[in-house]
């Protein structure tokens, strides 16, 4: 499999709320690398201020990075304009948390889905009508849903329409930002099954952004964990969940509420608040809350280092503890 997406050293800052000559900046992304292969679902997980949604917007071309590059299928998309930008937009499509916000309430479902076909000039008018029905069928809606308005649909049905509209232009990559967060669990399960099917049956790659590690574990082959604008751990789903190395990933896994009889909360997995991205901690951004902290953690930014070929972590302390426990890390 070849690379589909290659994000390198992306930095994004925003002006902090307020005014004045010495206005401070929000450090949303501080040097992020991310690679995706074709047809793969990559889960991007993190809490408030982690930068996961900003990274999704950079990949969609909706946010221009201050620094760094975003290469999609061999083309640098940062700074792209005109026709070339339109072509990239056709091939990278968004799915948002609340489809009500992305669907025009005055349009029928059919028109919303067709809009995407029209915009990218897919086929003849007749082809497009047929394609709309096919797309609705693909996402589990019946042809007569085409005549309804978003307000007449349930939350789950609206998200299916959102996915159908995203698929209309025949994308290679779907960037889904919290696509199931607004849905009840029984409906969430249907949408997660649909996302899994897109990859299996259509070979569409998905960048799946979520705060919910349980959901990410279910749909992804690769997972990256973000904390305050940086990726702290990345790897295959199997390795990352079986053997999480970064103390933040471990705490996050500990904190997830699991509906099982023995999942009592016996201790607080992670003390302290998430620091503000306006004035993030120096060195490792997790160090003020970390139980493994040593002096160097507050001075030097820890690079992502291999645990195995398919698993990288930005914590030299945890890596060293792990190698002393008997498993030597793979050197590249």
């Amino acid at each position: 499999m070849t690379g589909l997406l290659d994000v390198r050293g992306v930095v994004v800052t925003f002006p902090a709320p307020g005014a004045g000559p010495r206005r401070r900046r929000v450090h949303a992304l501080s040097g992020v690398d991310l690679s995706m292969r074709r047809g793969q679902t990559h889960g991007l997980v993190g809490e408030s201020g982690s930068g996961k949604s900003t990274l999704a917007r950079c990949v969609l071309g909706l946010q221009r990075p201050d620094e760094g590059s975003v290469v999609f299928d061999g083309t640098e998309i940062v700074g792209l304009r005109g026709k070339a930008l339109r072509e990239v937009r056709r091939r990278i499509q968004p799915v948002f948390q609340d489809p009500l916000g992305s669907l025009d309430p005055r349009w029928t479902v059919g028109r919303s889905v067709r809009e995407s076909l029209d915009a990218f000039g897919v086929g003849s008018a007749l082809d497009r009508e047929r394609r709309v029905k096919e797309l609705l069928d693909l996402v589990g809606l019946s042809p007569d849903h085409a005549d309804r308005h978003p307000s007449q649909l349930s939350g789950g049905q609206r998200q299916r329409v959102g996915i159908a509209a995203a698929l209309a232009s025949g994308p290679d990559l779907i960037v889904a930002d919290e696509p199931v967060s607004a849905l009840d669990v029984s409906v969430q399960a249907q949408i997660l099954n649909l996302v899994s099917r897109l990859r299996r049956d259509l070979g569409v790659a998905v960048l799946f952004v979520s705060h919910d590690l349980g959901v990410v574990e279910h749909v992804s082959q690769e997972v990256s964990v973000m904390y305050l604008g940086r990726i702290v751990e990345t790897g295959s789903r199997e390795e990352l969940f079986a053997e999480p190395v970064h103390p933040y990933t471990r705490a996050l896994l500990d904190a997830i509420p699991v509906p099982e009889p023995d999942a009592r909360l016996v201790h607080v997995p992670l003390p302290g608040d998430i620091p503000s991205p306006i004035d993030p901690p120096r060195g490792c951004r997790f160090h003020p809350r970390c139980s493994l902290r040593v002096d160097a953690c507050s001075r030097e930014r820890p690079p992502l280092r291999p645990v195995t070929a398919a698993h990288h972590v930005a914590c030299p302390v945890a890596l060293q503890a792990r190698s002393q426990a008997g498993t030597a890390p793979v050197e590249h």
Binding site: E47, S48, S154, D184, V185, S186, Q188, A189, Q190, L192, N193, S196, H211, D212, L213, G214, V215, E217, H218, V219, A251, L252, D254, A255, I256, P257, V258, P259, E260, P261, A263, R264, L265, H267, V268, P269, L270, P271, D273, I274
Partner: protein, 335 residues
């Protein structure tokens, strides 16, 4: 106080008996948001009330707090330490709200006055119900802020809410809610707006404080995982009714109702590996015309002709209760 006080050996602080709530909607119609719920919460006990949106769990909380939309009709009993709250005048309700019975809701920003120092809001919660001096209330408020984990509470007392993170604001709300040692706390999705690591801190705190003070908690949530983390017992709601209740251990290890089972199975976190998640087909029934029989029957993989009649409530082997015809048969076979 009614003659019922202490009939559960003094253990139950909140008892709901056959509680129903009807809410008027447009066109002169009514929605039966809650239909015949019987439930108790003991002292120092956390009972999870879990269900999906529209199941009536928040309306049930509103009925207990006396905070329902105008024109709503409540039938059945709501007993707080044996005293029936139903039909209480608003003035009397105001006297017990924040004193014997308190509320923590999802959005701490909506619970706090944005223009007032947080400490003063906790002190006010005390002075609303206790005849104490300003100075004594202030000292107690600082102490409460310390107990809920606000660092440097003396200095932070005068800060307005916007100087606090979401998690810290919810700590302040909890301090105000527990200020007068209520018998019952209604916690309606108290951690839904928080990040998962902060959620764990708040749940841990809530359990720690209420167990210590003997407060009984009704924890209303959509998240079965949260129930597993901190609740002692759980009641599962579907379309306005409690379909199953029991200890968390019993219900999660051996779910009896087909809806409970389906809900547990559709959770990705419990499912562990990929492959399709089981889904629940169909939709929740329209509660302006609820079905006469089992309300889950239309979506139930094990529905049968007799489900057209209301299901009986059966005691389970583990001591819980389930409303389902399936268990009527097994209970009879066992006899």
């Amino acid at each position: 106080m009614s003659e019922r006080a202490g009939r559960n050996g003094g253990g139950a602080v909140l008892e709901l008996h056959d509680l129903s709530v009807r809410i008027p909607v447009s066109g002169g119609r009514w929605v039966e948001a809650v239909g015949g719920v019987t439930l108790t919460v003991g002292s120092a006990e956390i009972v999870g009330l879990v269900g999906e949106s529209g199941c009536g769990k928040s309306t049930l909380g509103g009925a207990i707090m006396g905070l329902l939309p105008g024109g709503s009709r409540v039938a059945g009993e709501v007993l707080l330490r044996g005293q029936d709250l139903r039909g209480l005048a608003e003035e009397d309700y105001r006297r017990i709200r924040g004193d014997d019975i308190a509320l923590v809701s999802q959005d701490p920003s909506a619970s706090l006055d944005p223009t007032f120092p947080v400490g003063a809001q906790v002190a006010e919660a005390i002075r609303n119900h206790r005849d104490v001096s300003r100075r004594a209330a202030r000292e107690r408020a600082v102490e409460l802020l310390r107990v809920v984990g606000i660092p440097d509470p003396g200095a932070r007392y005068a800060d307005p809410p916007h100087r606090f993170s979401g998690g810290m604001k919810q700590r302040v709300v909890i301090a105000a809610a527990l200020a007068n040692d209520p018998a019952v706390l209604i916690a309606d999705e108290p951690t839904t707006a928080l990040d998962v690591t902060i959620q764990a801190q708040i749940l841990h705190l809530l359990r720690d404080l209420t167990v210590r003070s003997g407060t009984g908690v009704l924890l209303i949530t959509h998240d079965l995982g949260v129930v597993a983390q901190v609740c002692d017992r759980v009641a599962v709601m579907y379309a306005g009714q409690v379909v199953e209740q029991g200890t968390v251990r019993e219900v999660f290890a051996h779910p009896s109702h087909p809806y409970t089972r389906a809900l547990l199975e559709s959770q990705p976190a419990a499912h562990h590996r990929s492959g399709d998640l089981p889904v629940i087909p169909g939709r929740v029934p329209d509660l302006s015309e609820p079905p006469a029989g089992c309300r889950f029957a239309a979506r139930c993989p094990r529905a049968h002709d007799r489900c057209a009649a209301p299901p009986p409530e059966i005691r389970t082997a583990g001591g819980g209760r389930v409303s389902c015809w399936l268990h009527h048969d097994t209970a009879r076979e066992a006899r």
